[in-house]
Every structure is written in C-alpha cells, then in structure tokens.
C-alpha cells in the first residue's frame, strides 16, 4: 500500500511511468532525480503519510525501498 502510493508520487514528480519505480530503484542514480526532485518527493510523502523527514535524513534515503522503510518506521 505504501509502496504503491509512493510509486505514484515518485512517477508523478519525475515524469516517468509508475512501472519504472521499483523497490530497488535508486532515486538519484537510476531514476535521475536531482536535489530539487528529492525535495519535492520528500514534501509529498510528508503530506501524504503524515511523517516528518528531517533534512539530515534526506541524504540517507537512496532507494525507493529506503523511503518505504522510513515511512513504515515513522508512521
């Protein structure tokens, strides 16, 4: 559920197909998100899942899986 919703958000922000967003996809390396894309994605997940992502933790969110785990741990 979290993953599907996250897929939608990331696909929308990066202008790609949802299928391209996999658990192991690295946001920056594979999906080519730049720093502002990452900010957009973080702001969306904060709103959607009611979590707060401290700025210092943003860097450690590398793959889609990392983001899913963060949401699960902080809900």
């Amino acid at each position: 559920m979290i993953f599907e919703k996250l897929q939608e958000i990331i696909a929308d922000k990066l202008g790609i197909e949802t299928e391209e967003v996999k658990m192991e996809s690295d946001l920056r390396e594979d999906l080519e998100a730049d720093s502002l894309d990452v900010v957009d994605i973080v702001m969306s997940i904060e709103e959607e899942f009611d979590v707060t992502v401290p700025s210092e933790d943003e860097e450690s969110l590398k793959t889609v899986g990392d983001v899913v785990k963060f949401i699960e741990d902080n809900k």
Binding site: S35, L36, V38, V39, M43, S55
Partner: protein
C-alpha cells in the same frame, strides 16, 4: 484614508546578455543542465554599469510613464543587496542623478522581498498623508557578489533594475499588502558583511559571496507562496479565480511550476521572464511588472509575490 495607485513603471537592464553557453566556458556547466534545472537561458550582466546607473535608467522610465518630474517626488526608496556604496545610499545617489531635490531618500535591505517591503512603506506613507509621490526601485548587480567558481550559484542570478511610482489618488488601487519574515531560518541564504577587524580584535576577511542551501530555499519558497496568496486575499472579497495576472519573484522555473500545481493553476498562468533575466532579486518583480503590464487591462486584478533571504516574504494585491 487616502487611496494609492501605481502611476508609472519602468525597468532597465545591462547591455550584455550572457547565455548558458557563454557560462559553460567560465565554469563547468552546460546549457542543458542550466535550462532543465532552472529554466534560465540567459541573464544580463553588467560590464561596468553601476547599480546607481541602472536604477536611474529604470526610474526615468517610470517617471516618464507617470508623467511627473523628479522634483515632484517626496520619497525615494531603493531595495537592494548590491548598492555601489553603503554610504551614500543608492537612493541618495539616485536622487542626485535625478535631481529629485524634494525627496527623502533611503535604501532598504530585504533581499528578494525588497520591492514588496519598499512598496508597503510607500503605500503606508501615502495612505497616512505623509507623502504623495514615492519612487520605489528594486535594483541589483548580483554578478558582483557571486562566486564565479561555484556552478551551483553563479548560473542562477543576473543584474537589472525596475522602478514604480506610487501616488496618492482618489481611487485606492493597492487593495492589500501582506508581509512576513523569519530570521530564525535566515542561515539558508546569506551574504556576509564586514568582519570585526579593529584596534581590539583581528578577524579573517570574509568572502563576499552569496551562499545558498538550494533545497531549503526551494522548500521555503514553494510553501510560502500559497501562504502569501491566501493571506493577501483574506479580508477582501476576491478569490484566486478572480485574479487576472500573477507575477512571482522570478527565482527558478521549478518554484514557479511547483507553485502553479499547488494553487491549482495551469502551466503558463504565472508570468515568466526568468529565462531571459535569471534571478535578479529585488529587481525581479518590478522588471516582471514592467514587461507583464503590456497584457494588463484597466480594472484587472494583479497579484505580486516576493520571497527570499531573511527569510522574508510578501505579496501585493492590486487593481490595475
């Protein structure tokens, strides 16, 4: 209360337009990188023209547009981060060049919100009866405070000036102004001043480079703009759908695009000239206003929104 209207607008830019390709020879970057990430194609850079000179050229156009002479001005406010001198102020130097001998002249420092804040001072001064004709100028030569070895900042900014004449009027066209600031978040966008180096202490010289945490500034800008719009409409019976033209501070196309989506508009609804000018800080909104106004019709509702270092922010709702 006395009404306030905009009676004249003008702008000026340096003669050199520097393209992304030109910059790729100076720093490790490319046209594609800059264009896709920022929306900027070129920017105007002074090859020696001073802040005062740019400000005066914009001011003269605004005075002509307002059909008044400089000696009719009773106040001149210049919003700038990059005056030629700290003293005399840019406003005093402008006064000298214009021959505006009846004006009280001073600068204000509010980064990219400078024009909005200076407009608020002008409007309040006229409304209370203290002043009748106020010249507000936003001017920057940001190229002199950029680290030209830092490709993350030097590609984003440009030089220019915009000027507006506010006058007392029977009709009140400045419907509302909203402003705010938060110094506790100021460290994300900085420009250092003189270190304390005197008979008692010795400090290392500063670099005088603009420094920015891009992600934090982007987060701030995209969240504050909807707040600025909501707050300036509060108390009026006007809604976002009634606004005919929205002019944001021209910082970065990513901010404009995100804000467009957030407030339920369509791409292209927000005025854009940053592709030609880059981010000109305090000059951005009056320059944009000068260009956007060709499409304005009398009676239309216009929204101006500024946001920037400080952190500072503000918006003006006006009837053209």
């Amino acid at each position: 209360m006395i009404g306030v209207k905009i009676s004249g607008v003008g702008s000026a830019k340096p003669k050199n337009s520097v393209s992304n390709d030109d910059l790729s020879k100076v720093v490790d970057t490319s046209d594609t990188w800059i264009l896709t990430r920022t929306g900027i194609k070129s920017r105007y850079i002074s090859d020696g023209e001073t802040t005062t000179s740019l400000a005066v050229r914009a001011a003269k156009k605004a005075l002509a547009d307002a059909n008044i002479t400089a000696d009719m001005l009773d106040m001149i406010i210049v919003a700038t981060l990059t005056p030629d001198q700290l003293m005399p102020s840019a406003a005093c130097l402008v006064q000298k060049e214009l021959g505006a001998n009846n004006a009280t002249a001073f600068d204000i420092s509010a980064a990219c919100s400078g024009f909005i804040f200076a407009s608020k001072i002008a409007r309040d001064a006229i409304r209370t009866g203290s002043n009748k004709k106020v010249l507000v100028i936003g001017v920057e030569i940001l190229s002199k405070i950029l680290n030209w070895k830092d490709r993350n900042t030097c590609v984003l900014f440009g030089d220019g000036a915009g000027a507006v004449v506010y006058e007392s009027s029977a009709e009140d066209n400045i419907l509302n102004i909203y402003t705010g600031s938060d110094g506790s978040r100021g460290s994300v966008l900085t420009l250092d001043g003189f270190p304390i180096n005197n008979c008692l202490v010795e400090k290392e010289p500063n670099d005088y480079f603009l420094k920015m945490n891009g992600s934090e500034v982007y987060k701030f800008a995209t969240s504050i703009v909807p707040i600025c719009i909501e707050n300036v409409l509060k108390g009026t019976n006007i809604e976002i759908q009634d606004i005919d033209h929205i002019v944001l501070h021209q910082a970065n196309i990513r901010i404009l695009d995100t804000v467009t989506t957030k407030i339920g508009l369509v791409k292209g609804d927000l005025f854009e000239n940053l592709s030609e000018y880059g981010n000109t800080s305090a000059a951005s909104i009056p320059i944009a206003l000068d260009e956007a106004k060709v499409d304005f019709k009398k009676g239309e509702k216009v929204l101006l929104v500024g946001f920037g270092g400080g952190l500072t922010w503000g918006s003006i709702l006006l009837e053209w």
